[in-house]
């Protein structure tokens, strides 16, 4: 019995001395979890510039085309692009917003631009898809001469997160 205890004690001591060495040479495999959050982006681009040129009262301009691009990174992104405008203004006189019209079907039908956002591009749309929007302006017959300006704003929203694949 004493012999057995002796052997056990010696064995444990050897183990105690050897274990740091064994542990030191074992493959150390702590794991690090790397995370990369790939986010879906939606974007908008509008080009080129609009140039109507010189106009006289009662004249309607030649249509100018602006291409609005859904510049997103996902094919399943639901987004909306709206357009709105401000009244024409030369610092003294104004001209109604609605004198500017836009067409989404290459000039077949025209709608008056408004001061409130109107959706021109919406729903689930493919990445990098684009849509041409034609604009034209008609000058009222009694419009005073002036150097008028207007602001047109395209607004993009994409509040629906695409489904996880």
């Amino acid at each position: 019995m004493e012999k057995l205890l002796e052997k056990i004690a010696i064995g444990i001591m050897v183990l105690a001395i050897a274990s740091p060495v064994v542990l030191a040479v074992e493959t150390h495999t702590d794991s690090v979890i790397a995370t990369a959050n790939v986010v879906a982006l939606c974007g908008v681009e509008a080009s080129p510039d609009i140039v109507f040129g010189d106009l006289v009262p009662s004249q309607t301009s030649t249509p100018a085309t602006v291409t609005v691009t859904n510049d997103g990174s996902s094919n399943t992104l639901s987004s909306d692009v709206t357009v709105e405008g401000t009244p024409w203004n030369d610092g003294t006189h104004t001209m109604a917003i609605g004198q500017t019209q836009y067409s989404e079907d290459s000039g077949t039908t025209w709608a008056a631009l408004t001061g409130s956002p109107v959706t021109i591009f919406g729903g689930v749309i493919s990445a990098a898809s684009s849509k041409p929007i034609d604009f034209e302006v008609t000058i009222p017959g009694n419009q005073p001469v002036g150097l008028y300006s207007q602001t047109i704003t395209f607004t993009l929203s994409c509040d629906t997160t695409p489904p996880q694949v």
Binding site: E2, L5, E6, A9, I12, M13, L15, A16, S19, L23, A24, H28, D30, S31, V32, V39, L41, C42, G43, V44, E45, A46, S47, D49, V51, F52, G53, D54, L55, V56, P57, S58, S61, V66, T69, D71, G72, L77, S79, V137, I139, G141, N142, P144, V145, G146, L147, Y148, S149, Q150, T151, I152, T153, T155, L156, S157, C158, D159, T160, P162
Partner: protein
Amino acid sequence: MRSNYQLFLTIFFVFSIIPSAFALKQVAGMLEIELAAGQTGVLKYGLLNDKNETSTLKLRAEGDIVPYISIPESVELQPGKLTYVELNVNIPADYDISNGNEIKGSVFALQEGRPGQVQLNLQLKKGVVIKVIEENQVESLNLEKNTGYITGFSIMPFAVKTSVVVLPVVLAVMLIYIIKIKEGNKKWKNYWKK
């Protein structure tokens, strides 16, 4: 006379040459946060300027969120870099939850075209929802968050790990040895004297 005058006067519509609008991008999805009355929080609005030039955007909020959210007036976006704008949300301690527990609105990031006769703006719109919840719901939520993101990465030094394993063994040996001495086992003592 007046009519003729107007007819022959040319309205000078020269739409200034404005550069093509920058492409603007934003991280998709709504911005949502849950807070109790008296708490503050931060929402992060991701914006990307996808062109080669620095772009400055004007920021503003609209809707019911306006009294509860503070945002910088503008943000400068470096080319090609995703930038997160921090939107600070503060629900006052005296907020009456009976008024509704969802406060909704939008945040806009506007890139103005060059000022002139024509200005072509691009704007991004982001929906924001602030959910006002009871205090006990917040505690429950925090508990879930605290226990939900523990990862497998340990920072315990290797030497400490080794000591933890070896120390009990050494102690066990010492214990046996002491017991043996106390028993007065001469054979055991003699064994070591050899």
